[in-house]
Symmetry: C2
Subunit: 345 residues, 2 copies
DNA sequence: CTGTTAGCGCTTTCAC
DNA sequence: GTGAAAGCGCTAACAG
């Protein structure tokens, strides 16, 4: 059974003070007799006193809490971003409420409601791949609760966003494949609903255009990020009369899965087909061959987004600026012939 | 700027009702005119009305929220467990507050305070590797707030716990190494502070004893799970006059790191040294050679822990039972000679 | 420096 | 079926 929790009144009675004084002592208000404060603090400690945030929030009409909504927890990307968010939030004295939507639009809507009900002072959100309607997020705007998007951003809303330069990353990844002599470069793209899919696709296309490589429709496959399907698409690509000699994947999990399929079909990487991913996942350096990929400053994304949000909360600045972080192409063995490897050591 | 949020009073005024009636209509109280309820619900919808959980919790003295404290987010284990927790909690109508301690005892203490302040109805906790004092958690008990440990459990407190059979898993992992003919089996163990380290160590020791393999002190290295150190320990082991021919690691990240070191030193896996991990991490099937490991029912751990907690919260049952889930030995190439591989296909 | 008072938004008796 | 009033625990003027 839940027992009675000790309140300021309990402490006040015990010390024959008023609850206001106790409250002041506890919150570190300046005009309190050091003696008084001392005894209040001690007694509070002894009685397991714990400020009831609900009462505080109710009284202050602010919760000192920010909410985070991410689409999934299946790979390391979002957990890492959250680490960055927590770091900044903690420093500023904010709690973080983490919600995870499991890539479901409905869950995202529900999560938004929960955060709203918890009176968060602001929200950081990365959309699910299903999200096409944004009413549940516009509610925050209407209520004047700052919102910042990161990674999977919403194009329809004029709020700050933190992204990496997906276009540029994809461009350079593709350019790298071209520079090592690949001519038939396939692209396993993400769903069109996600802006990042479209930006990465554009980077890929423009790189081909720049180097006058023909764009072959059948080499571009857009899919819903359900990893199981990668095997199907890769088998298809590899069984084409002219299979690709290069492959750029929307993200690392996709690329890693693709590598497994390619190897199982007896193709050599990178000799027959060179592969590039996107994200620099934990596993990309572990597989054989290690994966060339576009690294994102993951933790920095979280920190930047959190800073932007806190800035809005505390200073009310709300220019809908887009903070674009840089990516870095990390070249590993999936695009590197052996000789170069020796040279670089 | 945060704007005025719509309250029951706003709705009441608009509809010329009392706030009590509005409240009753909103909460689904039986004695309300269906007509009235209908109009209240509609207006609430239209006005973006959102129940203020703080006010509700304050009035009800319960939050319908459970807290979760995990040591880290660096690998997939805890995020996956949380998925299981959320699944069960959601179904029962509870919110989940996720806190992450970054393996720091101090952060864990702070996290416990936050949860306390948020009036959680119960807590699920997995300890940091630093945690040796449990006062911050005993506070929950004193306040009558149910607590359930999982994975990294506390031996000092009489509360329900959810673990996997670490001893048995370690025993079978070691036995497997013995059965493929290994005689000098090293063990990279976790810190003694963690019960799971001790249990896995015991499983390892007992397996050796059962098969009359001498226990060699110099082959057993206990470390603090700081992955960077694995290289040092492995180099040491491999440079012994008689290097080990088998290796059992406390967890998969350790084993994966060990494999990289072993390969870089020119030893063959599994011919020179066979390796077994623990957890069946996402990456264990991706590395070369793929890692034999002890799989844990990760999501099930979360679900079981959540169910145990909800049971305590709602029915007050609080037998300090220990729920032990089974592990499964997954044999992969890090302990398998090539021939067998062909046979099994 | 400290006490008094009102009120945050909601639920919940107790009347009618 | 609905309203009035009290109270959850805390903060924040306003007096003194």
């Amino acid at each position: 059974m839940k027992k009675h929790q000790t309140t300021v009144i309990d402490i006040a009675k015990e010390l024959k003070l008023s609850k206001s004084t106790v409250s002041r002592a506890l919150t570190g208000h300046p005009h309190v007799n050091p003696q008084t404060r001392q005894s209040v603090l001690e007694l509070a400690q002894k009685m397991d006193y714990q400020r009831n945030v609900f009462a505080v929030s109710l009284a202050n009409n602010r919760s000192n809490t920010i909410g985070v909504i991410v689409p999934e927890f299946h790979f390391m990307f979002f957990p890492q971003v959250i680490l960055g968010i927590q770091e900044v939030a903690k420093e500023a004295g904010y709690h973080v409420l983490i919600m995870q939507s499991g890539e479901s639009y409905e869950a995202e809507v529900a999560n938004a409601k929960v955060l709203l009900a918890h009176q968060v002072d602001g929200v950081l959100v990365s959309l699910t791949k299903e999200t096409l309607n944004f009413d549940h997020l516009k509610v925050f705007q209407r209520k004047g609760i700052p919102i910042v998007f990161f990674n999977r951003v919403c194009d329809d809303m004029e709020v700050p966003k933190v992204v990496v330069d997906d276009y540029d990353g994809a461009f350079r990844a593709t350019e790298h494949l071209i520079k090592i002599g690949r001519k038939r470069i396939a692209h396993l793209a993400g769903p069109h609903s996600l802006l990042i899919s479209r930006k990465r696709l554009n980077g890929y296309l423009d790189a081909l255009r720049k180097y006058d490589i023909p764009i072959v429709e059948e080499l571009i496959i857009s899919y819903d990020l359900t990893l199981e399907k990668v095997a199907i698409y890769m088998s298809h690509l590899l069984s084409l009369p002219q299979p690709p000699d290069g492959l750029f994947c929307i993200n690392d999990p996709t690329a890693i899965k693709a590598i497994q399929v390619i190897k199982s079909k007896g193709f050599a990487i990178p000799q027959d087909i060179a592969v590039v991913g996107f994200s620099n996942d934990y596993a990309s350096d572990l597989i054989e061959p290690s994966l060339t990929t576009v690294a994102q400053p993951v933790r920095e994304i979280g920190k930047t987004a959190a800073r932007l949000l806190l800035d809005q909360i505390e200073n009310g600045s709300d220019k809908p600026l887009i903070r674009q972080l840089n990516t870095e192409l990390i070249i590993r063995r999936s695009t590197q012939v052996e000789e170069k490897l020796w040279l670089s050591k």
